[in-house]
């Protein structure tokens, strides 16, 4: 990849990270002084970053290129040197626009959503911290700086999930997300160690250049990076934290756990495409993990009554599609990013819509207590419906283009993966229809004292913008994105016309239509206000998150606790035994010997005389010998 030095506008790039970061620290350090205006300042920060990103994007649109901005040399030890550097290319600028664009809308939305929270300033500071970290992640020009952003978003995610830490469940969910993510971080750190050992550099450019000579090491690095991606993107087997992460305030779920942070794993895999190109095994593993997760997420989404958990399951599922696409090799990479961006729009839209519903329903999340909300919450309903159309892939909406391309590419590569992805699309149609029916249609099942009302404009305007994007983003990006990403993903452009629908495209539409029809048929009638008892294995397994927590409990937590208890026992008995035993011996001896200190001077005299006689005897014997 040809890169050029930063000139002109591009030298402003570090400011995109710097401004939200500085705002975050300012708000945290100033404290209550900034309570009154902190949220306005914090909302301005991502908007400024977005403006810079947009200017850079427009400049790159005229003249596509990749620009490296070296900020400073960070580490230099021996032959290794790591710079803090930014890489602005076609891939990262798209992410910048997504993060700052959707991020700005969610900041605006949060002004309304968090209006009554007394810790609102802190919330906005954390949001800005997240924006800065996420931008660091996508703008880094090497894995180590990416890792800083990676950990930074992990921290922000932890702080925001457990934002309402007075609830035990929120505190536990924050811990869980943080700990599960550490497993993924182990993968990323090990991958970096391997790169340092192999080529002495973690720059994307150096790694990409050296990838063809790596041989079997590429497979190892590929699997380690996949582990990292699984942790951050909630892919099986590290998926369990995402559902609990819904304990956070809803804007957080929309921004971090749907639109941006959880897609970092997909970004990592695509950014490392040169490594995956060398290792069919690792690439296949990515596709398989993606396929498993897209089905697992859809399964969970179909069986939950908590509106946010349905959306979380759906997020898992859609990220599964992206991983699947990323695992299809160069052909899928552009589609993965395409779906990532459209998903960012429609999922943020639906999460914010769910937040708007909760706002009107006294923070209830149980869909069995909703029903008939289309009337009182008209804007929320209409915008949510646009997100719904986009996610199921209704023709000409955003999801229609991005998801169908993935399914089609999957069929090209491997029929099994293709069929499974197709089934996943059908289930998506089912559970999203279920959500719509339970929330907006049917009979009023509102709890006593709940008076649904539409949210204020500051919340609905972001919804409207995102809804429009959910509808039209596909039309605008469909032909263009492949060409745009041809260089960073290293593949040739395929013709995917706007009206060019292949047999698989028709098939997908038919499967989705079946899913929607089943969803409509099953939930058009009355819905019980409590979760019905069931012996249906599918429902039971789904309600328990596919027993992910139980598996972790038995396979990992208990053995680890057992090992820890064993080591503690060993430490207590054996390791502590050595110094403690020595102390006991010395103490006992001292206890015995101090009996000689009996206070009788004559007894001391006797001991003295005996000692002198002993010495004299020794000397005398020595003389004799």
């Amino acid at each position: 990849m040809e890169t050029t030095a930063a000139v002109g506008l591009f030298s402003l790039a570090p400011l995109m990270i710097g401004i939200p970061l500085a705002t975050a620290f300012l708000l945290l350090l100033l404290g209550r002084v900034s309570d009154a205006w902190g949220h306005w300042l914090a909302t301005l920060a991502p908007i400024v970053s977005f403006t810079i990103g947009l200017l850079l994007f427009l400049q790159m649109l005229g003249e596509p290129r990749a620009v490296e901005v070296k900020v400073y040399e960070w580490l230099a030890t021996g032959s290794w040197s790591v710079d803090i550097g930014l890489l602005i290319d076609q891939l990262s600028i798209l992410f910048v626009l997504l993060i700052t664009g959707v991020g700005s809308l969610i900041h605006i939305y949060s002004i309304g959503y968090m209006a009554h929270d007394e810790r609102r300033r802190r919330f906005f500071a954390y949001l800005n911290l997240f924006i800065a970290a996420m931008l660091t992640l996508v703008l880094a020009n090497n894995y180590l700086v990416l890792f800083i952003g990676w950990e930074g978003v992990g921290l922000a995610s932890f702080l925001l999930i457990s934002f309402w830490a007075h609830k035990d469940s929120a505190a536990a969910a924050g811990n869980k997300a943080f700990i599960v993510n550490r497993v993924g971080d182990l993968g990323l750190a090990s991958a970096m160690f391997t790169m340092f050992a192999l080529i002495g550099s973690v720059n994307f450019a150096d790694v990409n250049a050296a990838a063809p000579q790596m041989g079997g090491w590429a497979t190892l690095i590929g699997f380690l990076l996949l582990l990292a991606a699984c942790g951050k993107s909630a892919q099986v087997p590290l998926q369990s934290w995402l559902l609990d992460a819904m304990e956070g305030p809803t804007p957080v779920s929309a921004l971090i756990h749907a639109a941006t942070m959880v897609t970092a794993g997909v970004y990592l895999v695509i950014r490392s495409n040169a490594i995956y190109a060398q290792s069919p095994e690792a690439t296949m593993a990515v596709a398989v993990i993606g396929t498993i997760t897209l089905l697992a997420g859809a399964w969970i989404g179909s069986s939950k009554d908590d509106i946010k958990k349905v959306l979380a399951g759906s997020t898992m599922s859609q990220i599964g599609y992206m991983m699947l696409a990323a695992g299809l090799g160069p052909i899928g990479a552009a589609f993965a990013i395409f779906h990532l961006i459209t998903h960012g729009f429609f999922k943020a839209n639906m999460f914010l819509g769910a937040g708007s519903v909760m706002h009107g329903m006294n923070d209830d999340v149980n869909m069995r207590h909703f029903g008939a909300l289309a009337g009182p919450m008209r804007i929320t309903f209409l915008t949510f419906a646009m997100g719904y159309l986009a996610i199921i892939g209704f023709p000409f909406t955003a999801g229609f283009y991005s998801k169908d391309h993935i399914i089609e590419a999957a069929f090209h590569q491997n029929t099994v993966l293709g069929v499974l992805a197709l089934i996943g699309a059908g289930i998506t149609g089912f559970y999203m229809t279920r959500l719509m029916m339970m929330t907006f249609a049917g009979r009023k099942r509102w709890q006593p004292g709940v008076h649904p009302h539409e949210s204020p404009l500051v919340m609905t305007i972001p919804l409207i913008i995102l809804a429009v994007l959910s509808l039209v983003a596909g039309l605008f990006m469909n032909g263009w994105i492949q060409e745009w990403l041809a260089v960073p993903t290293g593949h040739e452009v395929h013709n995917t016309g706007l009206l060019h629908i292949t047999p698989i495209g028709w098939l997908t539409m038919a499967v989705v239509a079946v899913g929607v029809a089943i969803g409509w048929y099953m939930f058009k009638d009355d819905i019980a206000e409590t979760e019905p008892q069931t012996r249906n294995v599918f429902a039971l397994v789904g309600r328990n998150d596919l027993y992910g927590d139980a598996f972790n409990e038995h396979a990992i937590i208990r053995p680890t606790k057992g090992l820890a208890a064993g080591l503690a026992w060993f430490d207590r008995t054996t390791l502590d035994g050595i110094p403690e035993g020595a102390a006991v011996v010395a103490g006992g001896l001292g206890n015995y010997l101090r009996k000689g200190q009996n206070g009788y001077s004559r007894s001391y005299g006797l001991i003295l005389v005996a000692g002198v006689i002993l010495l004299a005897a020794v000397v005398a014997l020595g003389q004799l010998g």
């Binding site: 009996n598 206070g599 004559r602």
Partner: protein, 99 residues
């Protein structure tokens, strides 16, 4: 008188001192026994000094006497104050300094 017989006398005096110190309880007697041991060693010093014909042993004897005098001053003061406090001059009664 030969050095040998002087040393025998010195040894006898020292042994008597040791025996007195170990066997008697009275603090004054114990003190006398210590003086006896010190003077036994003084006798040995001067006996060797006489044999070698120099003054070093005699000087050592003077030092011992000085130390012994100082010791008696301190020791008798302790014995007197102990006697005042406890109405007893027995060394076995002063046995509080122990484990």
């Amino acid at each position: 008188m030969t050095t040998g017989s002087l040393l025998v006398l010195s040894a006898i005096l020292f042994t008597v001192g040791v025996a007195g110190f170990l066997l008697r309880r009275n603090a004054i007697i114990a003190f006398m026994s210590i003086e006896l041991m010190l003077n036994a060693s003084n006798l040995a010093f001067v006996a060797f000094a006489r044999q070698h014909g120099n003054l070093e042993g005699q000087m050592a004897a003077f030092f011992v006497m000085v130390v012994a005098a100082a010791e008696v001053v301190v020791g008798l003061a302790i014995i007197v104050s102990v006697y005042r406090a406890r109405r007893s001059a027995s060394v076995d009664d002063v046995s509080l300094m122990k484990f």
